[in-house]
């Protein structure tokens, strides 16, 4: 179930333009598996093809998914699996998710697409009050574990107020659902398959900036990456950095810059935000003594606050400096001010340096 390639692959990061580096192909020493260079939306597309292929009672639906979706994640599905399994819904998020919960409650795998995470709020009641609590309140008679909600999230350079939001923190506050965010194409395919097959309802946020920007060698076969397992993607000794999704690319660049100044950074991809892998982060912070969390969502009440509080409880005496959070500002996601709002590489680098020099 675990990805074998993860341990053996070196990932080369080539700094690209502005935000979001292009992640170039990984070299794999597992020569037996065929890999293909894919971008994020193609990797997700592959995962969906496999999910539908392996379980005849799985369905993909949402706005405009039939022709392939606005980000092409659902290309070819309707043609291959038919309009009874891959279909468009009207424009009604609350209805779509509620419908998905019902479908899942009948033992099916409902893969719901919300076109942009910014539009997920009409469905928030369904997710929080219906999906998350179904198993609990029915004494395990019923559940909607087959439900997976996919939504593109995050900044894209020009998305403005309603095409750039990172709402993960709202969902991390709801026991009963899982929240998963992949950082790259290979991760996305494995994590999405795990999410779809996980017997709990999962909200899966896809970093839309990386749909085309990130290209990676993705194995063609059916594989899953375990949920609730964080990954140390870069080892270091001076400070631990924790992030998820597209932000990791920015953090990785900051780590490279910090290394030039003699600071050794350990970078962790959380992957699953709820329930999150506290042990991995704890072990890392006990080693380095410093923690920095970075996410695009506004800092107040962001998921970084939860990580900070938990690590403080577990590692208080080992901490050399306050936990640092380099996040979006406490404003609505702006239109023209996006470059100021974003937690950029330089903001992270500044924070790394001052945390280390505390």
């Amino acid at each position: 179930m675990a990805s074998l390639l993860g341990r053996f692959c070196r990932k080369l990061v080539v700094p690209g333009s502005a935000h979001g580096a292009r992640m170039v192909s990984t070299t794999s020493s597992c020569g037996s598996e065929t890999v293909k260079s894919l971008n994020l939306y193609s990797a997700i597309n592959q995962a969906l093809h496999i999910a539908l292929e392996t379980d005849p009672r799985s369905y993909v639906f949402g706005e405009d998914v039939g022709f392939g979706g606005v980000f092409r994640c659902t290309t070819g599905l309707a043609e291959r699996f038919g309009k009874n399994r891959v279909f468009n819904t009207p424009l009604c998020e609350q209805g779509i998710v509620g419908f998905g919960i019902g479908l899942a409650a009948m033992g099916n795998r409902a893969v719901v697409e919300i076109q942009f995470a910014d539009y997920i709020y009409p469905a928030f009641d369904q997710i929080v009050n219906e999906a998350a609590k179904f198993r609990y309140r029915s004494g395990n008679q019923f559940n909607c574990g087959g439900l997976t909600i996919r939504a593109p999230y995050g900044a894209v350079g020009h998305g403005g107020h309603y095409h750039s939001q990172s709402p993960e923190a709202f969902f991390c506050h709801v026991p009963g659902i899982k929240v998963v965010i992949p950082r790259s194409p290979r991760e996305a395919k494995g994590l999405l398959l795990s999410s779809i097959r996980d017997p709990n309802p999962v909200v899966f946020f896809e970093p839309k900036w990386l749909y085309r920007q990130a290209v990676e060698e993705v194995p063609e076969h059916d594989y899953m990456i375990p949920l609730s397992e964080a990954e140390v993607i870069r080892e270091g000794n001076d400070i631990t950095l924790v992030g998820w999704g597209a932000q990791l690319t920015v953090m990785e660049q900051a780590c490279l810059d910090a290394e030039k100044e003699g600071i050794s950074c350990e970078l962790i991809d959380l992957k699953t935000l709820l329930p999150w892998d506290k042990e991995t982060v704890e072990a890392s912070v006990k080693k380095t003594g410093r923690l920095l969390i970075s996410h695009e969502a506004p800092v107040t009440g962001g998921f970084g606050a939860e990580i900070s509080a938990t690590i403080l409880e577990r590692c208080f005496l080992k901490l050399e400096a306050p936990v640092s959070r380099v996040c979006g500002l406490d404003t609505p996601f702006p239109l023209v001010f996006e470059p100021f709002y974003m937690p950029t590489k330089n903001k992270i680098l500044d924070a790394i340096k001052s945390t280390v020099n505390y």
């Binding site: 502005a18 468009n88 009207p90 424009l91 239109l335 023209v336 470059p339 500044d350």
Partner: protein
């Protein structure tokens, strides 16, 4: 597949224009600002639900027809200019164009006052213009400049004009429907003798909140006119693929409705006048405007993958709102074809001038990032680069490190 069904459907979109009434006098006149009433029949009869239709004979005047022509030509030109600006990357983000639908904005304005409120979706540039908004403010806002109507902080989807009771400009589909009912309640409570026109599209018609809004409006007899601008495509989805009943004027069930030819500015005017009178006396009413957009949903949509080019050009040839008014003006001898063309040239100059002026306008100061989140006095805070000092940004103070970070990043 879908397209074959489209071609048979598209014939229903290409309703032929009724022949305009012939003028009683053949005397040649210069461009007339005559206000003597002219009566014109609407192109199509009104279709009704639970209400008697207004008369098909619409009273208008030379002055009004000319203003219709000029204003619609202005709107059309503005949208085309926005298209070029977007392609030149001077407008970023999202841009949803209204060309083809001008008659709805214009006809509505002719029937109401600036005390009546209008609230609409993100396809709001022309509605803003109709409410008295200026070209310069519009282009500035599109390009994110401080001189924009929302100070450059809203962008294409968030045009507002308080002094004209224009409540914008909403990005989330259908979210403006319950808001509009709230506006109507306030108007009724204050006995303003004004109504609220809440505009939404055929895509939004399937949102649950629309039905919540309808129920509330009907329950409390609110002076709300809910206007469905049915351009037949919710982004890329044709109405018959997303709605069990695409007869949007009937979907209010207990709320009466009227279906209007949205490409006929005079029909729109008549319907809106009727609706306002109705709403003030009885409560909510739905107007379904049968209209069409030439552009795709937004600038990232070519608009031709879910409908044929023949359909688009067909509507343009047979139902274009500006051409309709042009024909009326010419046949009534209000102005000559050349005079109208000159008017269009002037409009083009105005638009170009506004664009040029807007291009020179400044972008908002970085401190504007923090203004108007809350009322003055509350702000955002973040750590400075040294992380030892917590910097609070009140509404006027600038965090100096932010501006340097911007240039470095």
């Amino acid at each position: 597949m879908a397209l074959s069904r489209l071609s048979s459907r598209s014939t229903t979109l290409l309703q032929p224009l009724a022949t305009a009434a012939f003028p009683t006098s053949l005397r040649r006149r210069h461009i007339s600002t005559d206000t003597t009433p002219i009566t014109v029949e609407t192109s199509l009869p009104f279709t009704t639900h639970l209400v008697e239709p207004p008369s098909r004979a619409v009273e208008t005047s030379s002055e009004e027809l000319l203003s219709f022509f000029r204003d619609m030509a202005l709107m059309r030109r503005m949208e085309i200019a926005a298209d070029s600006l977007y392609k030149a990357k001077l407008i970023r983000g999202f841009c949803h164009l209204y060309d083809g639908q001008e008659a709805v904005a214009i006809g509505m304005e002719a029937a109401i006052t600036r005390r009546d409120a209008i609230i609409t979706s993100y396809r709001d540039h022309c509605t803003f213009l109709g409410r008295g908004g200026g070209l310069f403010e519009a282009f500035s806002e599109l390009m994110g400049r401080t001189t924009g109507c929302s100070k450059g902080k809203g962008g294409s989807m968030h045009f507002y004009k308080k002094d004209a009771s224009f409540y914008g400009g909403h990005g989330i589909v259908g979210a403006q429907a319950p808001l509009g009912c709230g506006l109507a309640f306030a108007q009724k409570y204050s006995k303003e003798e004004a109504v609220t026109f809440t505009l939404y599209g055929d895509g939004a018609a399937n949102q649950g909140q629309l039905f919540e809004a309808l129920n509330i409006a009907a329950l409390w007899d609110l002076p709300a006119v809910l206007v469905c601008e049915n351009n037949h495509y919710g982004m890329g989805t044709a109405e018959w693929r997303s709605a069990k009943s695409p007869a949007y004027f009937k979907r209010g069930d207990y709320v009466p409705g009227l279906k209007v030819d949205g490409m006929d500015a005079l029909a729109v005017k008549q319907a809106c006048k009727f609706a306002k009178e109705y709403a003030l006396k009885n409560g909510p009413i739905i107007l379904e405007m049968d209209t069409y957009r030439y552009h795709g949903h937004s600038m990232s949509d070519p608009g031709s993958t879910y409908r044929t080019r023949d359909e688009i050009s067909g509507v343009r040839q047979v139902r274009d709102p500006i051409d309709r008014v042009r024909k009326l003006i010419i046949s009534h001898d209000i102005a000559t074809e050349k005079e109208l063309k000159d008017m269009e040239k002037e409009v083009r100059k105005d638009v170009d001038a506004a664009v040029a002026q807007a291009k020179e306008s400044p972008i908002p100061k970085p401190s504007e990032l923090f203004t108007n989140i809350y009322v003055k006095g509350f702000g955002s805070e973040s750590f400075g680069a040294d992380r030892k000092e917590l910097r609070k940004c009140r509404h006027t103070k600038i965090i100096s490190s932010l501006s340097t970070e911007q240039t470095q990043a």
